[in-house]
Symmetry: C2
Subunit: 215 residues, 2 copies
């Protein structure tokens, strides 16, 4: 299995790359410019199983493709890349349609209901889609020596697609992956990202994340 990250040099993307590689999953860090991907791989440390690639290469070559670009760039990116993905590839969407109004985070209205459903509408049917890592702050992901000690919520096209994503991501120690149902659950999950940012600001922390009690 080859895993790669489109937008792997961004805060969230590089955090996921570091966590997966630390767990022994080789990851291709993608960027628009190969040089930037190479810089990120070097910065994350040569002891990790990371490679550098262009975003195009990640889309073409990987069986599991994390989509970690800003939501504002997703439409254009998928327009350019949609025919590149491998049939049967698993795309894992990390995007959140965040907006800020005078410093207060909110979720932009997306006609499809959520960023994940927006992406589903623009991916070929033979490409599978799940969502994950929407609620864990990049700053928490980045500290790979600090256990995450939290839950993350996964939703997918079907229970089988969610299970495939959960199976991969469960290799990250100290993270519990919870199956949150179909893609429409992204409408719920994306808003939790905004709440985590509200709490980060209010309590002057950077790593607010979620854990379920009673599950």
């Amino acid at each position: 299995m080859h895993a790669g990250i489109i937008g792997g040099t961004g805060h969230e993307g590089r955090g996921v790359a570091a966590r997966l590689a630390s767990a022994g999953v080789p990851v291709l860090v993608g960027s628009r410019q190969l040089e930037r991907a190479q810089e990120t791989v070097a910065a994350l440390g040569t002891s990790l199983a990371l490679g550098a690639a262009t975003n195009e290469q990640v889309a073409s070559d990987c069986d599991v493709v994390f989509l970690a670009v800003p939501f504002s760039g997703v439409a254009e990116l998928l327009e350019a890349f949609r025919t590149r993905f491998r049939p049967g590839a698993l795309v894992i969407d990390l995007t959140v349609p965040l907006t800020f109004d005078r410093g207060v985070p909110a979720i932009a209205d997306v006609a499809e209901g959520s960023a994940t459903e927006f992406i589903r509408a623009r991916l070929p049917v033979e490409v599978r889609l799940a969502a994950a890592f929407k609620t864990i702050p990049a700053s928490a992901l980045a500290k790979i020596d600090t256990p995450l000690d939290c839950d993350e919520f996964v939703c997918g096209d079907t229970p089988e697609v969610s299970a495939a994503a959960i199976d991969l991501l469960s290799r990250i120690p100290s993270l519990r992956l919870l199956d949150a149902g179909g893609l429409q659950s992204a409408r719920l999950i994306e808003r939790m990202t905004a709440l985590a940012i509200v709490l980060n600001k209010r309590y002057k922390v950077r790593g607010a994340r979620f854990k379920m009690v009673g599950v």
Copy 2:
């Protein structure tokens, strides 16, 4: 201070009544019919500081009024009650505009953005409004001998209003109240209720609730 619950005989309302009364806060359990309120008070146990009242009495007599009716009944209720509330009273909204589509929970579109903002638009300006207890399942609240061991998210008109609600609710042991900002945060919090229900169904539990890590 007098606290009371409009809709105190429903699942969520009686759970809040039991938790508050167990913490030593006397609570008026309100219902449309006084007899039903009396039945609930008797069922919850005579050792608790609970009284029975009509919903009208709760609105007229209490400084803190929990609104625990189904969201579908809120508009009519506020139309009838809006002039009854005391000036300066604190209304704490527990409602969630839940809908179900073939068993999958979702949040209904509310023009104001959330149930709490819907209520704000229908309350006199001199009545203060906060939201709380939107995400904790009634079944977890009901088991008063079991610690909640979770967080709950409070939002309010102003930081002072949120602080007043948090101050009261902090008397419940094993519950941490987090200040989640202004009323627009209800848009985020209400969707977490739907997610908790998704997880309850998926994992065959009844008490899924939230705890923040890193805060």
